[in-house]
Symmetry: C2
Subunit: 232 residues, 2 copies
DNA sequence: AATCCCATTTGCGGGAGCGCAAATAAAGCT
DNA sequence: AGCTTTATTTGCGCTCCCGCAAATGGGATT
């Protein structure tokens, strides 16, 4: 991947918004390419934060495990999302583990390199605040959801959120274009895979979603799902 | 309050860490003082973010209400904490409402003034990332708690957290030095005031806490509480 | 001191969702 | 293709916790 393509990629990355093309090129040049394949982890929770990453392509799930070994899915990331950069800046170990859902490519910068870049291009710091602020908002919303809504509503809201973030229009609805197990959904909605399975089974037979084992999940009646999510 | 005292105050504020004394004085000078009294709100969720705040003294509870009117307590804040500054920087309406738990004083800066200061003193932006990163971490931990632990554990963990943040050693334990209703605790732990009441009653008769209606809550056996919090 | 107001307590019943366990069905491997 | 491994489904019982309702008791107000 040449510098030109990298630069092009970085143009749509929120973290580098407001940088001139030549500045972007400098940022791109400082990057290292890190390809990853399905099920691989970019790093592990607890590791020293030596590098920060930006996703080039491919989808990634961010996991956090409790001391007791229970897992919680914090978020899904895709092209343009930054990973681990806050940990780099705060000089703390990575607090979570990013797992690749499909093959892809990330760009990375060492901690020192990244500090240089931030120094040289002040907008980066402001953009970082914006991005992290967005994550705070998202987490607050999820906390609110878990605190006030029932499981069915949370699953519905989660599917709609995934559809908004990464959904693809297909013939008979909106497809979630990556593997999404019951367990994954359970870890996203603070419930068990059993309850997720029962819920999706019911929705499947009502024609709200199509969720066969083999293929990706398809939301057939998004409007109905939105009703379920909102109906307190 | 003169500039000297303000400067002294700002010395211990994370957001301004690394600034020289004279820089702090400039920041202090640009601030406006905003006293508040118990039960007052500094602003309301949904308001335009025209000012950012830093708590001088007094305790504040940060509330977020759902469209359906249910409330969730996001966090408690005290001296040195920043409030609303991320909303100012992101140019979004305030996403929550800070309610004073006791009389106190905040310093505030207008959006424009704050932007100037950040421009003039680059460390502020980096510190802001650090602070917001810390909030992300805290929210992730709470999400994990709500997702994986039972009510009793969550209440125990919350009391311990409050004790760590603001607890005062007293003769027979650690006191939470501000009003804390069952409803408040319920909104902090994603449960109902009934369940909180039942739990605290039980703990009271076991001598783990002392929680009479009139006075502040006292943790008598923190170690036991930690056991409850951890015992999966 | 009497009254009102509100937080808290507590009983009781019910329901949402968990957890175990076994059946079923895909997908991957050799 | 046959076998193993892993994901999903589904039944069943049970537990935790909610939600209603009524009682209790302080604190504040007059």
């Amino acid at each position: 991947m040449d510098i030109g393509s990298r630069t092009e990629l970085l143009r749509s990355v929120g973290l580098f918004r407001g940088l001139e093309r030549e500045d972007l090129a400098a940022v791109a040049e400082a990057a290292r390419e890190q390809p990853f394949s399905r099920d691989e982890t970019l790093f592990s929770q607890g590791d020293d934060a030596t590098h920060g990453f930006v996703v080039g392509w491919g989808r990634i799930r961010l996991d956090k495990v409790t001391p007791e070994g229970q897992n919680v899915v914090l978020r899904h990331m895709g092209p343009g999302d930054m990973i681990g950069i806050v940990a780099v800046l705060r000089r703390i170990p990575f607090p979570a583990t990013p797992v690749a859902l499909e093959d892809g490519l990330a760009l990375s910068w060492s901690a020192g390199r990244f500090a240089e870049l931030m120094n040289r291009f002040p907008p980066i710091a402001l953009n970082a605040i914006d991005v992290v602020g967005g994550r705070v908002e998202e987490l607050q919303r999820r906390l609110q959801e878990v605190a006030t809504q029932r499981v069915e509503q949370r699953i519905a809201a989660t599917l709609l959120r995934l559809a908004n973030q990464s959904g693809r229009k297909v013939e008979d609805g909106i497809e979630i274009p990556f593997a999404l197990s019951r367990q994954d959904l359970a870890e996203m909605t603070a419930t068990t895979l059993h309850t997720v399975s029962r819920t999706l089974s019911a929705w499947d037979s009502e024609g709200i979603v199509e969720s066969r084992r083999s293929s990706h999940l398809v939301i057939r009646r998004p409007h109905r799902l939105a009703e379920i999510a909102e109906h307190a």
